[in-house]
Point group: C2
Chain length 249, copies 2
């Protein structure tokens, strides 16, 4: 059940406590295209926001006046039908991008899944920056294109995969992401990768187009087949990543 969380972030907005130079996503975010003094200018106009799990970051049809890069945590984007049926359309991880671009009304709900830290810019600031930095537009296009492609991949999952393949696909996505988060850029193929799933069963279901009971049963099935091992409610480990990938279809 979605509580009526207040939309304002948990803590008050605050000036960036550290300069961008030392930021975790400095190498990969939209800011990665900037150099030298441009980064300093960015530091001046950027501010941070934090959210607790479950809090609403953006409402459907909202017109937020800020955009943000994710510094940490996981955000889910979801759409809802009139009768309440819900579908998560995207999971966002650092250094993904979020917020009101070109004064478009937000076409989804955005909720924090974990503790989330955003690095925000006022829209006016950002758009003037876009003008000065043509490289930034390109980054935006590439980012949108990536997102479009992952959405397409998920459409294949939703349209054509079995329940077991769907769950395997999600777990595969999460191992991959959690590895990337830990190691950095390079994809290392470690054996027996353990990781924590931040989503509750119901959220997995809403992402996979299933019911949560089915998710539970398929997790169990994958466990019985030794493709995954669940060590707790939310703790998984994957003995053989390739086997999981295969199970994902």
């Amino acid at each position: 059940m979605q509580k009526k969380d207040k939309m304002e972030p948990t803590s008050d907005d605050q000036q960036v406590p550290e300069r961008c130079g030392t930021c975790a996503i400095r190498q990969s975010g939209i800011c990665s295209v900037l150099t030298g003094e441009d980064v300093d200018r960015l530091s001046d106009i950027a501010y941070h926001r934090q959210y607790r799990p479950g809090e609403t970051i953006l409402l459907y049809d909202d017109s937020p006046d800020f955009l943000a890069a994710m510094r940490s945590g996981v955000v889910k984007l979801s759409k809802v039908l009139l009768d309440g049926r819900q579908q998560i359309v995207s999971l966002l991880f650092p250094p993904d991008f979020l917020g009101g671009i070109f004064s478009r009304p937000t076409p989804y709900f955005a909720h924090a899944v974990t503790d989330v830290e955003l690095c925000c810019f006022r829209r006016a600031n950002f758009e003037s920056m876009l003008k000065d930095q043509p490289e930034m537009s390109r980054h935006m296009v590439e980012h949108s294109l990536d997102k479009l492609n992952t959405a397409h991949d998920w459409m294949v999952l939703l349209g054509r995969k079995t329940a077991e393949e769907r769950v395997a696909s999600l777990l595969y996505l999460l191992v991959t992401r959690s590895k990337l988060m830990r190691v950095g850029d390079t994809q290392v193929e470690t054996a027996n990768t353990g990781f924590e799933v931040h989503l509750k069963r119901e959220e997995m279901a809403d992402f996979l187009g299933l019911t949560y009971e089915t998710v539970i049963r398929q997790i169990k099935a994958l466990n019985n087949e030794n493709i995954i091992r669940l060590n707790g409610r939310r703790e998984f480990s994957v003995p053989d990543v390739a086997a999981l990938a295969k199970a994902a279809g």
Copy 2:
């Protein structure tokens, strides 16, 4: 069944027979951001390509050296699983955009659904144009964002809608589009709108995440409920567009 169509367009490439000024998509395509002599420059570097129904326009993992705006027709983008399961991830209409941007390998197959006419640019030409025309980047971002949003909407359909709602949604999409194609910009709410569906039943199914038998049965059901009327295999009319929208969920 996908024939091994040759990838080359039906007719040889040809210089644009008409100048861009009189082009059907001049007002709405990527070219719409250009003015005056820039349009003339565009006319010089643009060329046209044509495809027959079923022909392959782009192969998965291909790296085409051109990009294109659709001038007429319908294109489907699809992805395929190892075992052959197929999902159409997008339908493209004029003035949609297509091709190899920023030297990314194409992440889908593109096939002509109807006769298709493209207006093409060599990638090098296009990218230099992007540099000169900052407005064009913005157009690209907006276009990608639109596409991303329609993909998200389709994810809701694939994840959460019933078979009947899916079929209704597709038909609703097609009435809307065909009306837009006929009338221009404004959405007129005409009663009893007739239109032709260019997709075969199997393609509808691949777009909707269903089997073609189910598509047939749901079309029949919608017909029995008088939400649509099928006048031929591919000819439909919609007595009440609002009723169809409601059936689409």
